[in-house]
């Protein structure tokens, strides 16, 4: 139990740190929105200026500490204010969330499945043909920047062969519905961005899974299984692979931050209107409320996954409970 309490404490402190970073950065950096808005409004009469300050939430005359606590309270109650386009930030985020969630979720599952499988098999058949080629190859591919993979795929499949669409999440003019044709349209649009993410992340799982498997295979209980004459696939799956995945769970959760980062670049490369693209435009527009909220969403996503992984690890591995 102490383990869980400690991790929950970490959760809260990290959340607080993220919120605070969010608050401080825009206020200490040069060219922040507050000063920019006020500077460009030079010459506007004072009452208009005041109205604008209120509108943009950049009341510079207020005590910073008061603003800070107001900000914390607002974030915790989900009041993120309005975007530069005067839409509630939350509405904007919720409208884009499903696209990123689906893209990142599906590709992570696929990458994890491929990676784990190849990792397990190549460790099992160590030195075999598969082991000699795939792990190092994918490890190198994983070192490629995701946007390069994206650009390359885009060039080959969208520009040159014209098989797949160049950008966006579905065809312009398509009416979103539950129909099969719309689902197909969405799928063809998600294929290239999704594949870019899979290609770049699968290598990570293969590598860590393979190494864990190799370590696990040397354990006594695996040798025991062999001695008992169990079929080799059972040893591979039940004895070795299950135990090899376990220490990886938290690492897996933390990787989500990496995948989310990758999704920003991929969404930008393919003009895919999800959270990543929104985040990109919020920074270029200096849309402070939107950017802060999105940064928080990303941090929360990783935090929640880490927490879940911790809980799962604690549940599965008794050693961690009194660690």
């Amino acid at each position: 139990m102490r383990y869980i309490t400690r991790r929950a404490g970490l959760f809260l402190i990290t959340l607080w740190a993220a919120l605070t970073v969010n608050f401080i950065i825009p206020r200490v950096m040069p060219g922040n929105e507050a000063s920019a808005v006020l500077a460009t409004f030079r010459g506007v009469n004072p009452s208009a200026l005041h109205a604008l300050e209120i509108e943009f939430g950049v009341n510079v005359h207020q005590n910073l500490i008061v603003t800070y606590f107001q900000y914390l309270a607002n974030c915790l109650t989900g009041q993120f204010g309005l975007t530069a386009q005067r839409v509630p930030v939350l509405t904007e985020i919720i409208s884009k969330l499903p696209w990123t969630l689906a893209l990142v979720g599906v590709t992570t599952v696929i990458a994890f499945a491929i990676g784990t499988m190849v990792g397990v098999v190549s460790a099992w058949r160590r030195g075999g043909r598969l082991d000699g080629i795939l792990p190092p190859l994918l490890f190198i591919v994983a070192s490629f920047p995701v946007f390069f993979v994206g650009l390359l795929l885009l060039f080959v499949f969208a520009v040159t062969l014209n098989w797949l669409p160049l950008s966006s999440n579905y065809s312009i003019g398509a009416e979103p519905s539950l129909s099969l044709s719309f689902a197909g349209d969405v799928l063809t649009h998600a294929l290239l961005p999704g594949f870019s993410l899979v290609v770049v992340t699968a290598g990570l799982w293969i590598y860590s899974m393979r190494n864990n498997m190799i370590t696990t295979l040397a354990e006594d209980y695996v040798k025991m299984g062999r001695a008992k004459g169990l079929p080799s696939w059972r040893i591979m799956i039940d004895y070795a692979a299950r135990n090899a995945i376990l220490p990886n769970l938290t690492g897996f959760a933390m990787q989500l931050g990496y995948v989310l980062g990758g999704s920003i670049l991929v969404e930008y490369t393919f003009s895919y209107p999800g959270l990543g693209y929104l985040f990109y435009t919020s920074t270029t527009d200096h849309d402070l409320p939107l950017m802060q909220a999105l940064f928080l969403v990303y941090t929360l996503a990783v935090l929640i996954c880490v927490l879940l992984a911790d809980l799962a690890t604690a549940g599965l591995d008794p050693r961690t409970r009194d660690a």
Binding site: P145, V159, S208, G251, G261, Y268, T283, T284, Y298
Partner: protein, 309 residues
């Protein structure tokens, strides 16, 4: 961070082993490894281009004096940009700043992670808990979003790039080095140093850190893979300084100029491939480093086959 993370995990286990063997023998082993050789050759090529760009590409990379949007030819191996600059010259001359940013960030971040990780491990107590907490926070906060937020507020340029990348990339290595440091705490030679009455800073700098050389080199390599990609990613998004010539800004200009769609694909693909090439160079050396450092991971049968032949 990820590649660094994974490789460091395995390097960690064998650090102690290596330290006994001596670094020189280890280096020999690296040179005998095919992956390491390939990676080293790549990195040497890149370093050569960074130091002597004029030898490889004679054109002025910024001079807009050629035809615009030309395809590859004998005069222009990779064609020209929309502005009429030689893409090959830009690629070669852009190597320098790209490599400098990568190496500087990786070096500083390695030093930071070393200081934080080892201090936490050696000093222990409240210091350890505070530093570990800091490390955990930086591990969890997603890197690229944080990078983007930071970069969008600082004046664009290489200095910004170095600062924000360093700030966001040290955490994993710090955690690794802390674990390694913990395993060393009870060693005799440290006890001896303490008895001699050495200061903590002396012990950390001159007793502990030298025993971790190989882990530190691995950290540096892992970080480099990460940094080269993320720096280019930030510049690709337009968060760099577009007056500086790097692979990332080349990509940015190519993307803004619609290079792929306008039929000038080399302009965009060449710098992208260069980033991937450099990343692969670091990754290869890093992968080989792990294989050599951790005999359990070595491709046993293959080696045997080669020796037999």
């Amino acid at each position: 961070m990820s590649i660094a993370e994974i490789s460091a995990t395995t390097t960690l286990e064998t650090g102690a082993l290596r330290q006994q063997r001596g670094f020189a023998r280890f280096l020999q082993a690296v040179l005998r490894n095919r992956k390491a050789t390939a990676g080293t050759v790549i990195l040497l090529l890149i370093a050569f281009a960074a130091i002597f760009p004029g030898v490889i590409a004679r054109d002025d990379p910024l001079a807009a004096i050629y035809g615009q949007d030309l395809g590859p030819s004998a005069q222009h191996l990779l064609g020209t940009t929309q502005l009429g600059q030689d893409v090959f010259a830009q690629l070669i001359w852009g190597t320098r700043l790209t490599l400098i940013v990568t190496v500087v960030v990786s070096a500083i971040a390695t030093v930071i992670s070393m200081v934080i990780g080892v201090t936490a491990a050696y000093v222990g107590g409240v210091t350890d808990r505070a530093l570990s907490l800091l490390t955990d926070i930086f591990l969890i906060i997603p890197t690229l979003p944080l990078l983007i937020v930071l970069a969008s507020y600082l004046p664009p340029g290489s200095l910004t790039m170095i600062v924000v990348l360093t700030l966001t990339s040290w955490a994993f290595q710090a955690r690794q080095l802390r674990s390694q440091g913990l395993s060393l705490r009870t060693r005799d030679f440290l006890a001896a140093a303490r008895v001699r009455g050495e200061r903590t800073s002396y012990i950390i700098l001159f007793e502990i850190i030298p025993t971790m050389t190989s882990l530190i080199v691995a950290s540096f390599l892992g970080l480099s893979v990460f940094v080269v990609g993320f720096a280019a990613g930030l510049q690709f998004l337009g968060l760099g300084n577009s007056t500086e010539l790097t692979w990332g800004t080349m990509l940015y200009y190519a993307q803004q100029g619609g290079a792929l769609e306008a039929g000038n694909a080399w302009w965009a693909l060449a710098p992208g491939a260069a980033v991937a090439f450099m990343g692969a160079g670091f990754a290869l050396v890093n992968y080989a480093f792990d294989e050599i450092g951790n005999p359990a991971l070595r491709p046993v049968r293959k080696r045997r086959a080669r020796t037999a032949a």
